[in-house]
Subunit: 384 residues, 2 copies
């Protein structure tokens, strides 16, 4: 018999989608060149601005996060531009490749997986490269569960060197604190299916006035990811240049409504408390976090596998017996870590059920786990 019961989706995206959001897609088709669409899209964009905390332009691309990150590269970087980027995982590595393909002279600040380049290292790179054109940073490295914690301090460096500041916030925006305008960020990219708790397929990108001017003056030879076209359509008619994924825009807007109803600060606090409970509970159980303590993400928790613990059996049991989904390792961490998403709807229940199911799975696989884990997590969750 096939089981259709829903999963507890503790992946680093896609994540659990509230039923209200899924239900919002159940509507009739509209014309994407009409007042109906303009109403939907303008509302979506204005609500997105609140999430980015910006008054600048936001474009909702119909693509995955990778597509939007690619847009942030091909529209910003010209051949020969010097770009600084910290590299410490799969996604920052991929982004640095994109920058090279765009012709950039890439200065990689490489640190071991699980660690971040320090602010001083970033500062030093700026000091040594006065002609730097842009600083790119993957805010949350989904592949290793690390998060950069000095986004608010970069502004002074980019202002000094008159360079652009680009943040890949795909797997985190909506789950952690972010102030685009206050922090002087020029471009920030995110994905709907992560901390925003919408289905995958929409990836918003926010662009400062300065970066917008730069993009319009330097349009890349592409249609689909040509930001100048999106700006022109929005400025002229509040539409998108190409047919957008209309049902997903309804879903994304509904997800934004839920976020604004809860309040962004409350939401961030909830993510922090839940991740604290997950780190504490799972550590007590005997599973050590992969990331160094000062680099740990509050939205993606990467854990080292215990000696001999088989990835496929572990995640298969969790999924099949308990219907809890967690992700495996990425690239060279495949089989060495598993990753728990702490995103979007995540609340007490999600944390407790996840820890409980992991404990039971480890028990079934013959590992003795510390029964205090669940109590430790529950204690932490009292903060909610």
């Amino acid at each position: 018999m096939e089981i259709y019961l829903e999963y507890l989706v503790m992946l680093p995206g896609p994540t659990n989608v509230p039923e209200r959001v899924t239900r919002s897609m159940f509507t009739h088709m509209i014309n994407h060149r009409s007042k109906d669409f303009v109403k939907l899209y303008v509302d979506t964009i204005e609500k997105s601005q609140k999430i980015f905390d910006t008054t600048s332009d936001v474009v909702a691309l119909s693509a995955s996060g990778t597509g939007a990150v690619e847009a942030s590269v091909v529209n910003m970087v010209k051949k020969g531009d010097k770009v600084i980027i910290p590299v410490n995982g799969e996604f920052s590595s991929r982004l640095s490749t994109m920058l090279e393909w765009a012709g950039a002279n890439v200065i990689r600040l490489t640190t071991p997986f699980g660690q971040n380049a320090t602010f001083d290292q970033v500062k030093e790179a700026f000091d040594n490269n006065k002609d730097v054109k842009a600083f790119y940073v993957v805010w949350n490295e989904t592949s290793t569960g690390t998060m950069v914690k000095y986004l608010d301090k970069i502004k002074d460096l980019t202002a000094r060197n008159d360079s652009f500041y680009v943040v890949d916030g795909v797997s985190i925006l909506g789950g952690e604190e972010f102030h685009m305008d206050k922090w002087g960020v020029d471009v920030c990219v995110t994905g709907a299916q992560k901390a925003l708790a919408a289905p995958p397929g929409i990836s918003p990108i926010a662009v400062s006035q300065k970066a917008k001017k730069h993009m319009i003056a330097n349009p890349p030879p592409t249609f689909y990811f040509n930001m100048a076209r999106y700006f022109k359509y929005y400025d002229d008619t509040k539409e998108t240049p190409f047919t957008p994924a209309i049902p997903l825009l309804y879903a994304y807007r509904e997800a934004l409504d839920i976020i604004l109803e809860e309040g962004i600060e409350n939401r961030i606090r909830r993510h922090r408390v839940c991740s604290d409970a997950l780190y504490s509970g799972l550590s007590t159980m005997g599973l050590s976090p992969f990331a160094k303590e000062d680099a740990r993400s509050t939205v993606v928790i990467a854990l080292n596998y215990l000696q001999g613990l088989d990835d496929k059996t572990f995640r298969g049991t969790l999924s099949e017996k308990f219907r809890v989904l967690v992700a495996g390792g990425f690239g060279e961490l495949k089989g060495k870590v598993f990753r728990v998403g702490c995103m979007g709807e995540v609340h007490k229940y999600h944390v407790m059920r996840t820890i409980s199911a992991i404990a039971s799975t480890l028990d079934m696989m013959g590992y003795k786990t510390n029964p205090d884990a669940i109590k430790v997590a529950e204690d932490k969750l009292r903060a909610l």
Copy 2:
């Protein structure tokens, strides 16, 4: 009071989406790296192959049709490649620009809007360019309502010159006859929101074995539209390299089920009868088709506006008073024509209601129309 009643969507995409399709999106989130996803995706791809009539690879891109067309260019064309393309409207013009951006030496077979290059003109271009690397053709020029009718004859030319044969079938596949393998097509692109009657956001691209080899050997410097990555993921794990728009894949698969239940031949016949009824009925009413008779599309009907008939008032009345959506003209045809989509679910009811609403709108705007129009259309529809 705001009206939420559904529209009759007679646009050249998006089109009416059957409720069964919309409803299929109302499901729980799954992991895109799991057996659940593989089952969904493989099923979707295998059903797509039937629509393209091919045994070769199909990739369902999470993007609009323009994105998939761009993929068909950047993965196929290398700098200096000679490419022949008929140009007779907005979309073929756009495609020829994409080809130039990819570095191609583009031979445009330009004809006036509303006409197609003849097969003899295409043959002559092949005769004069023995070193041609690819023939690109927009099967259905959505902007003008024309359709190329000799796709089955190109094979001999491309075989003779050992060139690739690429078909942009975005606005028509599923509504007209197509046999990818039999006709020797190397790449065919389509969009879910046109004759396939799914929501927008998924754009399938089918690739012959020969073109697949070429793409793998010549990967472009892009992630999102890098076909070699999609092939590798599918061949290795039956997954997609980037997080796909999962709800739209459910919808697209459901739309394919509906097509296969009806039978592709029945579906094509239905499109032909409905477009015949629309052409006859609207011509009787006094609205002349924009396209030359031998070039007329069976899925997009472009009609010349009557003298002095204002586009905005006409389409606004049609939409607001009768909730029937038709599209305006594109580019230089803006205000000169309107376009009726004859796609997907289109059946007797759609045709009759559209003709009736157009007649009433024209009457309201003070134009005397021939009352025989509706009877002429009904007669044609008896063939169904």
